[in-house]
Symmetry: C2
Subunit: 466 residues, 2 copies
């Protein structure tokens, strides 16, 4: 699947905007999930656009020649989203990382896609503003990647997803057409909502070249801390109950007993190996009343400890096990690796059920399944630990993974709350959206990218047409 990309040398690009070097190409065939999602192939060339006109010129030329183009930035995707499935060109957008315009009086900022997410927060901090939907990887992943997958994170329970904070964007279609969507007004019913269509498109409909983000004022009161429960059911039921009661939490994170054990060992915390819930509260008024309400609900579910603080250092300390959990899991056992790290998201009322089910499936398969997630959204990061050199164990792990995802669909949920479909979850698309839904998505894909230039082999289960 090699494509002749020499035509790139004839475009209006500087020498350092184009590379055919093996090392560069190979580094663009990797992301956090690509190894396990399969199909990733090394691109034939890497280009580094520096402006919208570069993106447009490259796309038009590639489309004319039938060469695939896959947008790439930080490479922090979990589903092989940004790794070429068909070779061709990797379009690396990390050089387009400018803040184009900042309008604090309107709570708006226009940024390029290669900008690291946390850079937005830093830029606007002096005005008392912040960008609430940043995912946990916000200090290494880019705005473009977040927009491409409609990312979300710990604060989504209070503030929503990326799509809720994108007012409009500039994007380039496969034929080079530059499109501007949305406006600077905070609401509109003018024409089709192309903004929300392009958010979450995973680079299959258009390459985003600029984004207008909304910002929020920082809350005047912040408290953070941790609760420890006796059983996992107690923890998940307490969370569901708190959300149903509309306790105003800004973060509410579940860490199951196995994950707690892994984190406790890694960090030598001295805490019990029991299910934990990590909390943060944001408010301008009445934060203590919200915390009291939460505590009361948690006590009804036999909470063992409930510790909250308004001191930054103490909050950090209380949150440590959650913050370092991903590292702890990765270093738990040199022989074991997390299989298909990613998430499912279900309606809140089904949250205890999906957690129970995931644990049950793993237990029956004799595998360890550390579970954690943005529980207030019904989000569960589930994985099983397997020895990649033991095919039989991997096979059992795959079965647990598939059954968990299928169970999320049965519960009315989604196969991915925040990481996109990429290559890894294509096989579940039709089970979630039905044949009619997938067909409508395919029609939209063909309408905007009839030659299938953009990121072929992603999202859709079969790949001939795309």
């Amino acid at each position: 699947m090699t494509h002749d990309c020499s035509f790139l040398e004839d475009l209006d690009l500087a020498d350092d905007q184009l590379s055919f070097a093996e090392g560069r190409r190979e580094s663009h065939a990797a992301d956090w999930g690509a190894e396990q999602t399969g199909d990733g192939v090394v691109p034939d060339a890497v280009v580094y656009p520096e402006r919208t006109a570069d993106v447009s010129e490259i796309l038009a030329a590639a489309t004319e020649r039938g060469v695939p183009v896959t947008p790439y930035a930080a490479g922090t995707g979990l589903e092989g989203n940004a790794v070429p499935a068909r070779g061709g060109i990797s379009m690396d957008l990390t050089r387009m990382d400018e803040i184009v315009d900042y309008r604090p009086e309107d709570f708006q900022i226009d940024v390029e896609p290669g900008l690291i997410g946390s850079a937005v927060d830093e830029y606007v901090a002096d005005d008392g503003l912040f960008f609430p939907p940043l995912p946990s990887s916000g200090d290494i992943s880019t705005i473009g990647g977040m927009v491409a997958t409609d990312a979300s994170g710990m604060q989504t329970v209070r503030y929503g997803e990326i799509v809720d904070w994108v007012l409009g964007l500039e994007a380039v279609l496969a034929d080079g057409t530059v499109v501007r969507t949305g406006s600077r007004a905070i609401k509109s019913s003018s024409g089709y909502n192309l903004t929300d269509l392009i958010v979450g498109n995973e680079g299959t409909l258009a390459v985003v070249t600029e984004v207008t983000l909304e910002l929020s004022g920082r809350p005047q009161q912040i408290r953070g801390g941790r609760a420890i429960f006796e059983t996992l059911d107690d923890a998940t039921e307490a969370i569901a109950d708190a959300i149903r009661t509309e306790v105003d939490v800004a973060k509410i994170e579940l860490v199951d007993d196995l994950s707690a054990r892994i984190a406790n060992r890694y960090l030598d915390t001295g805490l019990p190996d029991a299910p934990m819930v990590f909390l943060e509260f944001h408010a301008n008024h009445g934060i203590e009343e919200e915390i009291d309400l939460c505590r009361t609900i948690f006590e009804e579910h036999d909470v063992l400890r409930f510790e909250m603080s308004d001191d930054d250092a103490e909050m950090d300390r209380l949150w440590k096990a959650r913050r370092e959990l991903a590292y702890a899991v990765r270093s738990y056992d040199a022989d074991l690796e997390p299989l298909h790290p990613g998430d499912v998201t279900v309606p809140l009322d089904s949250y205890p059920e999906i957690v129970r089910e995931t644990k049950r499936l793993a237990d029956e398969a004799g595998l360890l399944a550390p579970c954690y997630g943005h529980a207030g959204d019904g989000n569960l990061h589930h994985t099983v630990l397997v020895d990649p050199n033991d095919p039989e164990q991997v096979e059992r792990g795959e079965a647990v993974y598939e059954q968990t995802v299928e169970r999320a669909i049965e519960l009315g949920g989604t196969v991915t709350g925040e990481h996109g479909i990429g290559q890894g979850k294509r096989k579940f698309l039709e089970a979630e959206h039905g044949a009619g839904g997938v067909d409508a998505m395919r029609r939209v894909k063909r309408a905007l990218d009839p030659t299938g230039t953009l990121n072929p082999g992603k999202i859709f289960p079969e790949t001939e047409a795309e």
Copy 2:
């Protein structure tokens, strides 16, 4: 432009689901705005589907025969959105008005499109829930119409638009394909966001047959009232300042001095003919602090009166001039009619400017322009009063209207914040979205409705292809 619709008699419909009677057909050629948007023609038949299968069968048969289908419900649109531009079939969805499923534990309700909006509020009230984005016409307009135009209203400043409260939907494409979008999970990054694409499509991409709505808990504290300012600039600057300071308002409505005069005369209020701002606050904690903050900001802008109450009857009294404003304007002068009632929406920082500009344009044209709107969103309902029998006056009115809309675009705003494009605002679509944006919308339209069956003659400026 007559279409043979006799094929409808061969479909699996009861006798009373189909009408060719002139009265029925004529009643479906009218909505609140059709008279002024032009082009509306009487449909050749009216059908009343009662289930999704009916919608699918009718659409498939109509598409096969090249007969246009325009969805219709309450007829409360302002832009001729639901009035046929090309005859054919008016599909009246008011019989599909069931509540299909209600899941209070998940804050979700599934409803059919013909349900009146306020019926949702009534149904869930006993559980302490409500549906926040209802527009002012919520007690007469339908959920389907709100979804079709991505409506919004007074509470959008705190709670967002319709699109923010639609989790998923069922819709039928022109060829009869039934599509289910979204899920019951509160977030997802699985595939393209067809939900948000169909919300606001004005019946040009699909006919919505079921909607999953999110609900919210009722706030524990509510206060409402009114402020009166000396000048319009004081009022608009005070509003912009309050929103910039993130005063937590649930409603913040501007009524200009002319509108105040009209309302005062109509209601005999004894109030000064001065610009007014109507406010409502929702909170679970600290509502008095928010009101005090708002009052302080308003005082910096020389507010003359600031009256707030927690008593229902008193709140009603304070709000009366706002509530009855539309009736007051319509009955102001028997010879004058509001020309093109509708809205533009601009970034908040430009709100004082668009209000000033609208008044200036009307003054220069020697016309009366009562202005009011959901000011916290940057929304302005602007109109000029003209004598429809005086062509020269109408022409001056048209010029004011067009210049106001164009100015909103220049300010980075949108030509319609909440009423859709319909027929009335097609001519502005390209100025707002650019040729690239409109072309992308057209491609989506052709992909999902290649024969142009659904609501032709709407949204897009030229109409041959659609």
